[in-house]
């Protein structure tokens, strides 16, 4: 766990400085290790061979978020037997459990890989056109994608059923058996107890690089400059909203031109035109500065009268996404902030008079936590240079989006420019049968702030599924697969 920690002031160093040890770090000292206690008599002690094997597959995908689901479905589509391990009872991760809606836009044309095109078609079959607007005259929105959370959950189940992905819901990854630079089994906790999932290839789609950390892959976390992780959000939805009244208030009364579309596709945010409205709330004591540090709300297609709130954000100074205790405390703090915001909206925005909290996210909105250090390490320069790679798996022009007052980088690519993500950022030198997808790929803090959005995560997952199948069929280790030699690859570099 946490080898080669790269942040200048690491937690461990802090602990040393403080003269205390422990909590959240693997300790090097034997002094404090307690004598082994008598092994207990039950049948599921966590110690390699004693744990029964629950499932065996070609590929085991850990984590059923946007990238993990894409990886599992695509690997299965390419003929592999796939087990997908999900902690909750719904696929989609931040999209469904985290209420992160809509999916942010890549801000570049032709970024949709086949998996995304297929997903969007499935939405259309249910009567939802996920594209915010295709009209070029709207500068805002672009190709943000409106994946209604409950419908997405259903479609993901359908996709997995169609391609025979074995989804293991309600299962938590708690370890890995590793030997000779390969993972042989993932250890999972289920209602029944502990068990092993054996596979030839493992895909780490945990978002927190959990499997990679268990397997001893080099990881880092937070900003190289401040040591802080990106801010976490605790999202929620409000029902009973009269959307036209909200629209009139912001667009007509406050004259905010931020959103150029009208209900049923409408959003409001804290902008230069509306910040006064929120500051007055602070002055009246209704909200705090932290509560309104970032405010954004979107209508949800298929859920009339419900808005998805892209807030509150908890302070990155106080709550780190890589500390178990901080995350716990952030939940309590976020829940308090949600109530204050809901009250503020009800009181001050016409159209929210009868609104209520209809749903809280069931996972925190973590933007960044741990990141692996893989074969290729993406940096902010790759963004600024609009870098192309022969082994690219997708493209994006989403900016370096750091929610931190000190580190916000304003520079953006010119219109039409984009960068690519190489397959080598998904694999490591340490573990030959591991592919890492989603927000925890090999990238520095700045690069990760650009690659972390849902469409990019989905495209990475898709590529991992294809690469896993190609590698297994051709006897090539996952971390030796040459993406350029795969005939049916989901993305071909523009470089």
């Amino acid at each position: 766990m946490e080898k080669n920690f790269l942040i200048p002031i690491s937690r461990r160093e802090l602990l040393k400085l403080a003269g205390v040890t422990a909590v959240g770090v693997a300790l090097g000292s034997d002094k404090n290790v307690e004598a082994a206690e008598t092994p207990k008599p039950q049948n599921f002690s966590f110690n390699g061979a004693q744990i029964p094997t629950l499932l065996r597959a070609d590929v085991c995908v850990c984590g059923g978020g946007p990238s993990g689901t894409a990886a599992a479905v695509t690997a299965a589509r390419n003929g592999l037997k796939v087990v997908l391990i999900e902690q909750g009872t719904v696929l989609g991760g931040l999209q469904t459990q985290g209420l992160v809606y809509p999916a942010m836009p890549t801000k570049v044309l032709n970024s949709d890989t086949p998996y995304i095109t297929d997903l969007n078609k499935r939405f259309a079959m249910h009567g939802i056109n996920v594209s915010f607007t295709d009209d070029a005259k709207y500068k805002n929105g672009g190709d943000a994608r409106e994946y209604t959370p409950e419908l997405l959950a259903f479609i993901y189940d359908e996709l997995c059923a169609d391609y025979n992905v074995e989804v293991l819901y309600n299962a938590t990854l708690i370890g890995a058996n590793t030997s000779g630079g390969k993972i042989s089994a993932a250890i999972v906790h289920t209602v029944e107890g502990l068990s092993k999932i054996e596979a030839n290839i493992f895909i780490d789609a945990t978002g927190d690089a959990t499997l990679s950390r268990f397997a001893g892959v080099k990881v880092e976390r937070g900003s190289e400059h401040t040591g802080r992780n990106q801010k976490m959000s605790f999202r929620f939805e409000m029902g009973g909203v009269e959307e036209m009244k909200v629209y009139k208030f912001f667009v007509k009364k406050l004259k905010d031109g931020w959103c150029e579309t009208k209900p049923p596709e409408f959003e409001f945010a804290k902008t230069t035109h509306t910040e006064k409205f929120y500051y007055e709330g602070i002055q009246r004591g209704e909200v705090t500065k932290d509560d309104v540090a970032y405010i954004q709300a979107f209508t949800i297609l298929g859920k009339p009268g419900v808005m998805s709130m892209n807030c509150p954000e908890v302070s990155p100074y106080l709550y780190s996404s890589t500390s178990a205790l901080d995350r716990s405390k952030a939940i309590r703090q976020g829940r308090i902030m949600i109530r204050r915001l809901a009250h503020f909206f009800r009181k001050n925005i016409p159209g929210f008079k009868n609104a209520y909290i209809s749903r809280e996210a069931s996972m925190l909105g973590v933007r960044e936590s741990w990141r692996i250090h893989g074969k290729y390490y993406m940096t902010g320069e790759d963004y600024f240079n609009a870098q192309k790679f022969p082994d690219a798996v997708c493209r994006s022009a989403y900016p370096i989006d750091i929610h931190d007052e000190v580190l916000n980088l304003e520079k953006k690519l010119a219109k039409g420019e984009f960068y690519e993500i190489p397959y080598r950022a998904l694999i490591t030198n340490e573990i030959s049968n591991l592919i890492v997808v989603g927000r925890c790929i090999s990238a520095n803090f700045a690069a990760q702030a650009a690659v972390r959005i849902q469409p990019s995560c989905m495209s990475m997952g898709e590529a991992a599924g294809i690469a896993a199948a190609y590698g297994l069929k051709n006897g090539i280790a996952a971390n030796a697969v040459d993406w350029m030699s795969i005939p049916n690859r989901s993305y071909v570099s523009a470089g």
Partner: protein, 496 residues
């Protein structure tokens, strides 16, 4: 900020201790106090676990595993009674099935004066937030899941409960008939929590099973667990229109209360004939829904969420098991499909549902029964029918034997009830373990009656009180005589 969380080991405290200030951090409070706390509470120890050494997160008096109705009540009451308490919850909200599972409202114990002080307080807090739980007729508790989550956080903060969210209890270490630590998977990896007393409020008796306690699962006659449900909420409902159709046009008198406390229900193959049975049967005939989907349908208005109903369905066929992880997983996808079919059918045909939509899915399946421990006292069906009383009773109930698919009993006569003894919460095997919630020591049939949320909360409340009392008086948790705890400390005193 973050009141009630007395862990000294946060990043912020570390920064303070280290004398390092991160840009923008406003330092306040006493470093000396933090240092003292740190010295006392951070064991600095690692623990040997399998072939690994893992850090000890903390050592507390009482560690509660599971933050559902029972676990939250246990934590709040242990802390209120002076114990240093850690509550471990795998999700990010307390309330378990009541919040994460959308199980709404709390069923009615049907027993007079069954509310223990914790429940009285819970209801008062709901009222203070504008949610009146009493519908004027029944003793069901109409709440609001989001407000309940908020209240649970507040009660924990006020009582000084430390909550560890997003953490899963995966294993335990025990010797000499005592659990010394539980192994917990957090986002940062595996860690150990040491405690003097452990309360198993996992619902699945996970910790008890892990520590070697005897257990049973399912119905001894069929081997089946109770059916799982996958609950959900629908928004955009015109409840006035629905009420007019169901209560006036169809003359369904099942729901005794009036809007905003309104319920629709239908269950096939029961003695009770519901007016909506024909409505659902027509869907089966037309092929729009399956017989499984039509078998049970129920919906309740949610107080404070206008136009939203909590759907007590679909009920997933019993071939899916609550105790088999693969079967459980398949039940999720199967249930989600049933949910969509039921929703589509209601939207298309039920007046008032024309503009409705699925507004929220539960984030855990509604498991009514999975594993049950075998404790010092084993409750059986006769305890229900005989209206058993126990000197060490922790609460009372008269909720009927509600074994979906297997058995539905006659209700006890008005005013009748049975009690639940403290001995059903403790075991001979592990001296420092108390089990609370649906997985206490009871037969399948009796469990079908005691499993409802208010009863689970009262059991948890007693567990918390007993844990603190035992610690203070040096009595092992499984040797406590509840009847000997001074009456003013006990949450419930048997009237014999």
């Amino acid at each position: 900020m973050a009141q009630g969380f007395s862990f000294p080991i946060s990043r912020r405290d570390l920064l303070k201790l280290a004398g390092v200030t991160a840009a923008g951090v406003v330092l306040s409070g006493s470093v000396e106090i933090n240092r003292a706390e740190a010295a006392e509470k951070i064991s600095g120890a690692a623990i040997k676990y399998g072939d690994k050494k893992i850090p000890v997160l903390c050592s507390v008096d009482v560690c509660i595993c599971g933050g559902g109705p029972a676990g939250t009540a246990a934590a709040v009451n242990a802390a209120k009674n002076g114990a240093e308490t850690l509550l471990i919850e795998r999700g990010i909200a307390l309330g378990g099935l009541g919040v994460l599972g959308c199980v709404y409202p709390f069923m009615d114990t049907h027993a007079p004066n069954s509310d223990t002080p914790y429940l009285v307080e819970l209801k008062n807090r709901l009222r203070a937030k504008g949610i009146e739980p009493f519908d004027g007729v029944t003793q069901q508790t109409w709440h609001n899941p989001e407000i309940l989550a908020e209240i649970h956080d507040e009660m924990c903060a006020e009582a000084g409960v430390n909550i560890l969210y997003q953490a899963v209890v995966v294993d335990s270490i025990s010797s000499g008939g005592k659990i010394s630590a539980v192994i917990v998977q957090t986002i940062a990896g595996l860690t150990a929590v040491k405690a003097k007393i452990f309360i198993d409020a996992t619902g699945d008796a996970y910790l008890a099973r892990n520590a070697g306690v005897d257990y049973e699962r399912g119905y001894e006659k069929t081997g089946n667990n109770q059916p799982l449900s996958f609950r959900f909420e629908m928004g955009g409902i015109d409840t006035e229109k629905l009420y007019k159709y169901v209560a006036i046009e169809l003359q369904e008198d099942w729901c005794k209360s009036k809007l905003p406390y309104f319920e629709i229900a239908e269950a096939m193959h029961r003695k009770q004939r519901y007016k909506l049975e024909d409505f659902m049967a027509r869907g089966v005939e037309s092929g729009e829904i399956t017989q499984d989907e039509a078998e049970y349908m129920q919906g309740y208005t949610i107080i404070g969420k206008n136009g939203v109903m909590s759907m007590n369905c679909p009920e997933i066929p019993v071939k899916f098991s609550a105790t088999d992880p693969v079967s459980y997983s398949k039940a999720v996808s199967f249930g989600r499909k049933m949910m969509r079919n039921i929703a589509r059918y209601l939207i298309k045909h039920l007046p008032g549902f024309e503009n409705a939509f699925i507004s929220r899915e539960a984030v855990m399946l509604g498991a009514r029964e999975s594993w049950r421990i075998k404790g010092k006292y084993y409750m059986v069906e006769d305890d229900y029918h005989n209206q058993s009383r126990f000197p060490d009773a922790v609460c009372r109930t008269a909720w009927f034997i509600d074994a979906h698919g297997e058995k539905v009993s006659e209700k006890l006569p008005a005013g009748g009830f049975y009690e639940i003894p403290y001995r059903a919460l403790v075991t001979d095997k592990i001296s420092n373990l108390i089990v609370a919630g649906r997985c206490i020591s009871a037969s399948f049939i009796l469990q079908a009656s005691m499993r409802i949320q208010p009863t689970c909360a009262s059991i948890g409340e007693a567990a918390g009180i007993a844990a603190a009392y035992g610690l203070e008086n040096g009595i092992a948790a499984n040797a406590i005589d509840w009847a000997k705890i001074p009456a003013h400390i006990r949450s419930y005193v048997s009237k014999g």
